[in-house]
Amino acid sequence: MAPEIVLAAQEQQQSTQPKSVKKGVEGEAKPTREAEKKDEQTPTAAKSTATRTETFVFGIPQNGLTKKERQVPLDEPPPLAQNSELKYIGKPTPRYDGMAKATGRGKYTADIQLPGMLYARMVDATIPHGRITSVDTSAAEALPGVKAIHVIEHTFGIAALRDPKQEAPSKYPVIRYAGQPIAAVAATSPQIASDAAALIKVTYDRMPFVVDKQDARAPDAPTVFPGPADAEGSAGGGGGPKNVPQVGNVHGPERKKVGDVDKGFSEADAVVEGEYFTQVQTHSALETHGFVVDWKPEEVTVYASTQGTASVRDEFAEVFKLPKSQVRVITEFMGGGFGAKFGAGNEGVVAAHLSRKAKLPVKLMLDRKQEHIVCNRPDSHQKLKIGAKKDGTLTAISLTSYGTAGVGTGAGTAGPATNLYKCPNLLTEEYDVFINAGPGAAFRAPGHPQGCFAFEQAIDELAVKLDMDPMDLRDKIDESPTRRVERKIIRERTNWKTRKAAGVDTGPVKRGMGIAQSVWYRFINMDSSCEVRVSRDGSVEIMSSVQDLGTGTKTLLAIVVAEEFGISPADVVIRIGDTRYPIGPNSGGSVTAGSITPAVRNASYQARQKLFAAAAPKLSTTADNLEMRGGKVVFKNDESKSYSLKQIAAKMPTSEISARVTRGPEYAKERITYGGVDYVELAVDTETGRVHIEKVFGAHDCGRPINPLGVISQINGGILQGISYALFEDRVMDRKQGYMLNANLENYKIIGAREVPEIEIELVENYIAQSSTDAAGIGESAGIITLAAAIGNAFYNATGVRMRKIPMTPANVLAALGRVSQEETA
């Protein structure tokens, strides 16, 4: 039984990770119960290197901390104490680059200006499906100021036919979605580039198309591909299963099976069953996808708005057959990614072609419309059935889901159903449906917000059927000790105890409360290297190619280094986002904090040990008699001897001491998931159909929090994106013309200031003794997974009606309440 569940978890890993990091990621996401049993079989640090035994603080403070012994490699530092005993780790620390951001001086990719730089503009397909018969660039070439034009021969990000011979060969790629890039022009100003792009004439042979998922499933629907096609884990992550059956546009199923669901349902005392619908959500990062490429014969310099400088370097090297040593990627400031910005992408490759042709640097930033089309979270149509005993014990879960990632794959939704609770019988079947629309990409907890919307509402429905409090039911079926603590916090600190029965409010405005839970996985990217350097003047730098997407990575690293050297985080110089430094992890799937911080702490420790060894003779002592205490270097045998880092560094015989470290394996693999519980209070106006979120309380876990200030910012963001997803956002496709109707920020509605509820967050410290920092990311499990489900549960509590469709726009709400017919909202 275990292998299927392990497979399920590995799939989650693939759908989140860009392909370039897959090899380096430890495959360790398995449901907790399986891993606990198998821990002794899993290779860990103890098996490969010389180690010593250390005793770590372990567990959750609310439950009482315990101790745990681990084998630790000899060159790794001693265990950290719990946060309350540390000087910088766990203390709210202002963002390292906060000043640069608040004053507008941070230079994002969109802000890069190089001498002689050209501005590029893409030409996109104006039809949803067809073949290009000609591309005439002559008028554009004749326009003064135009320096280079590139016509695309291979489009990235689209699934590929298993048998390419099923399509007649052509100079141009087949157009499979409106907005697909065709060509690009580089000119001396953005305005000339736009003028020139409008002069490029493209002629097409149109083909039948389909942009509605339901229509696309019909046997006689136009097909997006003439035969079976699979998506590479695209540069933006994503990518579904390969070599599964495909009939027409329906690709799948990917089937996961544990036990026997028929037997499980026959043993059930209660069964809930429902269909759930979620919409396509676009990432809508404020900085669009974009690159500045400066192609020089000796080195290609790429400024990229990316979540993975390493992934960009890898893809540039691969596409252009360049040695990696000749590709330099820089991301100093980055205006949001949310999962969609990895690799070179069409825009990066095109910018490089243009720069090579023009022999000048080229900036290519997508415009807002293109940004809506380049990536999205797939939609879903899920049929979910859960069976349980009278006491709540789950007996069977079956889930069938259809989702569309446009011309890509990766619309699976089974993560929560598979990994949230213990259930002996499970069957999930996930289908991708191709339509003529832009490709899906990894988006904050791929598949989980969709899956959770259905699954956590079904669990609540089950609680109603079993006449149990939804919290009590979860206490019964949830094995996670962390979420148990989180539920307890919510019971104590919210209005949960005053929760009324569903739909008892008599006025037109009805209030309710609900909860939902998330699960995410401890992924570790082993490509996590850094160098820590101490100079003789006592200044400390840390270098890694890892990037800061706005999640606060720079601050995180500053804190870890500061703790080790006893200096203020503000005094550590952070040099990241440049592939000239040791290669760090790409930031997807919440891997960054858990992957890079142990390397950074270990490097800091090693540099400090080297420093002690170098300075000790000049202090007439030995290195092992020196230790850091209260921000000072002191003699262990004589506390009156106390020095600042500056004083010690001055004794170095060389001008610098440095240590370069690559992350080692986990000390153990007991803890492999993270999760949170979110509580929502809302009001539903049953006359206008408006849903107003009044309060959110989130209890969350990211292992050992390094910077609570930044973590809470990120959880706020997950919660607000979750509300935005649940209530407002919706990609609208024109069924007759085949393009996105609302590719802008006024008709594609994202949450604004006036829709922000009161938010309260409690961070649960969770010491797992698996690395030298015990840190973990929070990007995925923070709010985005749970909010739609928690809102759905609160909506039910308010109205007695179950919302099985998002976004909960007034039209959809009034339809669910029976105030208008379903047809009127279609």
Binding site: G98, S713, N716
Partner: protein
């Protein structure tokens, strides 16, 4: 690449990035503003489509830039003056990332033509910082972590600072109303509210202390 940002960035530093346009700088005066505004208003004067030299008064200094009449103020500031703190996100007036002040009032630089800003006092996010001193709203944004990726932050700061100019004692609803046009994708809104209200409270406290001890004002 990632040096700790220090606040002492010279005007020259700002201009260096421009590259494309030679910009000349003199200290502005009120009469110069009025003169430029009058010139720009000449009814018989038509310009374009070719580039024309115009004088813009940005952050207390006068710049001459050569721009086509179709260039937006956002493009002019970013591509010609190197003032890239003003961000372009939607480029059609729906997100407020490009918020600057024209004569002290928030305006969308993506919806304003560069030539229409002639004769007006333009303040950008860079102009909020006086020498080595950040504006109190900027300080509060850092303190409260009212930013994540930071791309909406300059626009948010400009909007919130303008609110505090016209309303010294805003309530939460006033702040929400003021930034209701500023979109943020990372979800920094709660901390934007907290930062702005914090500055307002500091103002109130300072004003209260001054009332208690008027001598200190001198």
């Amino acid at each position: 690449m990632s040096d700790t940002p220090k606040i002492e960035v010279s005007r020259r530093g700002f201009l260096k990035g421009a590259g494309l346009t030679a910009a000349t700088t003199v200290i502005e005066s009120a009469s110069a503003l009025a003169r430029d505004a009058k010139e720009a208003m000449q009814p018989d004067r038509s310009v374009g489509p070719d580039a024309v030299p115009v004088k813009l008064h940005v952050n207390g200094q006068e710049h001459t830039v050569t721009i086509e009449p179709r260039y937006t103020l956002a493009e002019t500031l970013r591509d010609h003056l190197g003032l890239t703190g003003t961000k372009v996100v939607c480029d059609r007036g729906s997100c407020s990332a490009c918020t600057v002040w024209l004569d002290g009032t928030p305006a969308l630089a993506c919806m304003t033509l560069g030539i229409d800003a002639v004769g007006r006092k333009i303040t950008t996010i860079e102009g909020l910082t006086q020498g080595a001193e950040m504006h109190p709203v900027q300080v509060a944004f850092v303190k409260h972590d009212a930013m994540q990726c930071g791309f909406c932050t300059p626009g948010m700061v400009m909007t919130c600072a303008a609110l505090l100019e016209r309303n010294h004692d805003p309530k939460l609803a006033d702040v929400k109303h003021a930034v209701s046009g500023n979109l943020c994708r990372c979800g920094t809104y709660p901390k934007v509210f907290a930062a702005t209200l914090d500055v307002a409270q500091q103002h109130q406290r300072a004003a209260y202390l001054l009332t208690l001890n008027p001598a200190k004002e001198a």
